[in-house]
């Protein structure tokens, strides 16, 4: 199957999941024609052209809410929505929702102290910015 244009658009938006990104980058390394297509898409975006798919992704029109992702993890969504969320995560491989899901899973599983320490490091190294105001 030819690489769909929307896959290239998603790549430029950094909206692909881990395995899709890796697969596409591998193809880009060996396929000059694909690199040319990617450049052409970049040119079109530079000229202000956009696609329905890009707008859909940017506005996250079908992304489940973080609360729904939490309920998905707890397996308490109704069957129809659960099936859809599973599709959105696995088939659409939405990078933003996968990141949220991974975060929620980490909160459930990991040592809360480890996460807190990490966040404290970010805070301590950046809070000075607010004091400089």
């Amino acid at each position: 199957m030819t690489t769909p244009r929307e896959l290239l658009e998603s790549y430029l938006d950094d909206a692909l999941g881990e395995s899709e990104t890796a697969r596409l980058e591998q193809e880009l390394r060996r396929d000059e024609e694909l690199r040319r297509r990617l450049l052409a898409v970049m040119g079109e975006r530079d000229r202000g052209e956009h696609t329905v798919g890009a707008i859909w992704r940017r506005h996250r029109l079908s992304c489940p809410s973080r609360e729904q992702l939490g309920s998905f993890l707890l397996n308490v969504l109704d069957a129809g929505l659960r099936d859809y969320v599973d599709f959105h995560l696995r088939t659409i491989a939405c990078a933003y929702c996968l990141a949220n899901l991974a975060d929620l899973q980490a909160q459930q599983q990991a040592d809360a102290a480890v996460i807190q320490q990490r966040q404290q490091r970010v805070f301590q190294s950046s809070a000075g910015l607010l004091r400089k105001r």
Partner: protein, 209 residues
């Protein structure tokens, strides 16, 4: 769109409230970390990029329009930081291409989401984007309320993944005719909604019936 809670946090941060800054970090650090870790497996590098992303957000606060979704904005900043990091460390896959394209790709990647001087104009683009997003939201909400996730899946595969009708049909185990019918009805409805917003639907080739 940002939540009221996010807007309040941003407002407090603008006033120099350190507690609000700490809350923002607690709210978004984990998902940013996971987003970055998808591309960069080095733990320490991930933490540095998360930190750079927050600093980037703070620096860009004067230009941040808090009607924009905060999470999406933070992901966009993180995405730029990932590209910068891969480029700086010589690990961006496209840097390894032998032809002249590698550097050009990277240069363009870096500027893709920057403020652009687009030929058709940023304002026009925003109008189109808003109209399409509103029309799609209208359509998708109707289907969601009806519990009709099949149509949603069909349209998402067609528009977001760019799959062909036959691939969508095979994947969802329905006929190509069903996919074509769903596409036709959706495109017709979207076209009507976009035209009702005062814009021509033919800006988007995907909306040609």
């Amino acid at each position: 769109m940002s939540t009221a809670s996010d807007r309040l946090l941003v407002q407090q941060i603008r006033q120099g409230d350190e507690r609000a800054w700490e809350h923002l970090i607690a709210r978004y650090e984990g998902r940013l970390f996971a987003f970055i870790h998808r591309r960069i497996k080095d733990q320490a590098a991930c933490e540095d990029i998360v930190q750079d992303s927050f600093v980037g957000f703070y620096t860009s606060l004067p230009n941040y329009d808090d009607r924009r979704d905060l999470q999406t904005y933070l992901f966009t900043i993180a995405s730029h930081k990932i590209t910068d990091y891969l480029r700086r460390t010589g690990r961006h896959p496209l840097q390894q291409t032998a032809d002249e394209g590698g550097e050009l790709f990277l240069h363009k990647l870096a500027e893709q989401t920057a403020a652009s001087s687009v030929a058709r104009g940023q304002e026009r683009r925003e109008l189109e984007s808003t109209a399409i997003a509103r029309a799609l939201t209208n359509l998708l909400d109707t289907w969601r309320k009806q519990g009709d996730y099949q149509r949603l899946k069909v349209l998402e595969l067609l528009f977001v993944k760019g799959w062909h009708n036959k691939d969508v049909a095979k994947f969802l185990d329905i006929s190509e005719q069903q996919v074509a019918n769903i596409r036709f009805a959706a495109v017709k409805k979207l076209g009507e909604l976009v035209r009702a917003d005062g814009l021509p639907a033919d800006v988007f080739p995907e909306l040609h019936v």
